[in-house]
C-alpha cells in the first residue's frame, strides 16, 4: 500500500528525518536529488513538488522496492 502523496512520510524522507537504506542506484540518486533540491529551496511548494516525485516513483515501481517501502512505513506500523 503506497501512502497518499499528502502523507507526511514523503516530507520526512525529503527532509532527511526519515532515512531510506541504500538501495538501487536510481532510487539512491532520486533521494539524493530531492534532498538537494529541498536544501536549496526549502519552501512548502518545493516540498509538495518533490513529494509528488517520490510518490510517483513508488506508485510506478513500488513492486520492485518492497523492502524500501516497508522501511518507510515501519515507524507508522509501530506507532
Amino acid at each position: 500500500m503506497i501512502p497518499p502523496v499528502t502523507h507526511p512520510i514523503w516530507a520526512q524522507v525529503i527532509t532527511g528525518s526519515r532515512e531510506i537504506p541504500p538501495s538501487k542506484v536510481g532510487l539512491n540518486m532520486l533521494i539524493a536529488n530531492v534532498r538537494r533540491d529541498y536544501k536549496l529551496n526549502p519552501s512548502a511548494a518545493c516540498l509538495r513538488r518533490l513529494a509528488a516525485r517520490m510518490h510517483e516513483f513508488f506508485t510506478n515501481y513500488g513492486a520492485h522496492y518492497q523492502a524500501e517501502l516497508e522501511h518507510i512505513l515501519e515507524r507508522d506500523t509501530h506507532a
Binding site: P22, K24, V25, L27, I31, A32, N33, R36, H64
Partner: protein, 326 residues
C-alpha cells in the same frame, strides 16, 4: 563483441537492433537500420582492453524486446527523453563529448520530467585521445543514416511485461577521509568553493595540498558513490575543469587512492545475477589503470568519455541488467 564491418552489415540485414561503437569511418559504411552508434576506438572485449580502429563493438538488443524506437534529440528536445521512454523498458543514450547536448544533459538531467523513474543508460562518444581537439566525436542514428556532432541519439527499447530493466554501477572508488568540498553553483568548472565550510579556491587547494587529481571527487548519493573527474587545473587562473558537473548543495571529497584497480574492480563487482545486456567503462579508468590487455571480469563494451546511469557519471562502470519481473 568486436566485429568487422561486414559482420555488422550482415547482422543489420538480418533485422537485428544494435548498439554500436567504433571509428567514424567504419560506422559510415553501415546501412540504415535499427541501430545507434557513437565514435570511440577503445573497448573492453572478451580478451581485455583493446584499442581498435578496424572493428566495431556490437551490443545486440535482446530479441525478446517488443519494440525499438530510434530518435535524435536536440538540446531543446532532450528534456522529454524520460517521458518519451516506454513505461516498461530502457533507453540507451549516446552524446558527443563536448557537444551542447552533453553539457545540457549533464547539468539539467535531475530536473527533467520523470528523471530517475525510467532507466536511461548510455555513454559519451569520443576520439583517439591523441586526436582530442583535432577531430569531433560523433553519434549516428541508423534509421536515418545521419550523423551529428551536436545532437544526441537514443534507442528506446520496450520490454515485455515479464521483463524488467535495472541499472547498476560499479565504482572502484570510495570516499576518502579528507576535506569536505562544496560549491555555491553547479557546472563543469569551479574556482571558488568551501573546504570544510571555509571559503577557498579549489585549484590552489588541489595544488597546495598535493591531492592526486587523477582521483575523482566523490559524493554519496544515499549509498551510491558518484564521481566527478578533474579534467584540468589552472593554478594561475584559479580554475578547475571537470568531466561532469559539480552541483551546488552536494558535499564532495576526493576519493581514497586505489592501489590495484583490477583487484578493486573484481572486489566491487557483484557476484551472480544476470549477465549485463549493456555495459561501458570510462576512458580514465582505462588510461589511469592501464587496462589495455587486461580483463575486468566478464564485462565488455565501449570505453567512453563519460558514462550515463540516469545522470552523467565519470570513472564508473555502468551495467544494464534485465531480470524476470516478479
Amino acid at each position: 563483441m568486436l566485429s568487422s564491418v561486414a559482420d555488422v552489415q550482415d547482422q543489420l540485414a538480418a533485422g537485428k537492433s544494435l548498439l554500436l561503437a567504433g571509428e567514424e569511418s567504419l560506422l559510415r559504411q553501415l546501412p540504415k537500420g535499427n541501430w545507434i552508434g557513437g565514435t570511440i576506438p577503445y573497448f573492453m572485449d572478451k580478451t581485455g582492453g583493446i584499442h581498435s580502429e578496424s572493428h566495431i563493438f556490437v551490443t545486440e538488443v535482446p530479441a525478446y524486446a517488443s519494440a525499438v524506437d530510434v530518435r535524435e534529440y536536440t538540446t531543446a528536445a532532450l528534456p522529454s527523453i524520460c517521458q518519451d521512454a516506454p513505461e516498461n523498458g530502457f533507453s540507451v543514450l549516446i552524446m558527443p563529448a563536448g557537444s551542447p547536448v552533453h553539457i545540457a544533459y549533464a547539468q539539467d538531467f535531475p530536473k527533467y520530467a520523470d528523471a530517475y523513474l525510467k532507466p536511461v543508460v548510455g555513454w559519451i562518444s569520443g576520439v583517439n585521445v591523441a586526436e582530442i581537439g583535432k577531430r569531433q566525436p560523433k553519434v549516428f542514428a541508423g534509421v536515418s543514416g545521419q550523423d551529428s556532432a551536436q545532437n544526441a541519439v537514443v534507442m528506446h527499447v520496450t520490454l515485455p511485461r515479464h521483463k524488467r530493466a535495472e541499472i547498476d554501477i560499479v565504482n572502484v572508488f570510495q570516499q576518502g577521509p579528507g576535506d569536505t568540498i562544496s560549491f555555491k553553483g553547479s557546472g563543469f568548472t569551479a574556482s571558488e568553493c568551501r573546504i570544510n565550510g571555509k571559503p577557498a579556491n579549489l585549484a590552489r587547494y588541489i595544488t597546495g595540498s598535493h591531492v592526486d587529481s587523477r582521483l575523482p571527487l566523490t559524493a554519496n548519493y544515499n549509498g551510491s558513490i558518484v564521481n566527478v573527474s578533474v579534467q584540468s587545473i589552472d593554478e594561475k587562473a584559479g580554475l578547475v575543469k571537470f568531466y561532469a558537473p559539480v552541483f551546488a548543495g552536494v558535499e564532495y571529497r576526493f576519493a581514497r587512492p586505489v592501489l590495484d584497480y583490477l583487484a578493486a574492480f573484481n572486489s566491487a563487482l557483484p557476484a551472480g545475477g544476470p549477465p549485463a545486456v549493456f555495459s561501458c567503462n570510462c576512458i580514465l579508468n582505462y588510461l589511469y589503470a592501464g587496462l589495455e590487455g587486461k580483463r575486468t571480469g566478464d564485462l565488455t563494451g565501449p570505453i567512453t568519455f563519460g558514462e550515463i546511469a540516469h545522470q552523467l557519471l565519470n570513472q564508473t562502470l555502468v551495467r544494464l541488467l534485465i531480470r524476470d519481473a516478479a
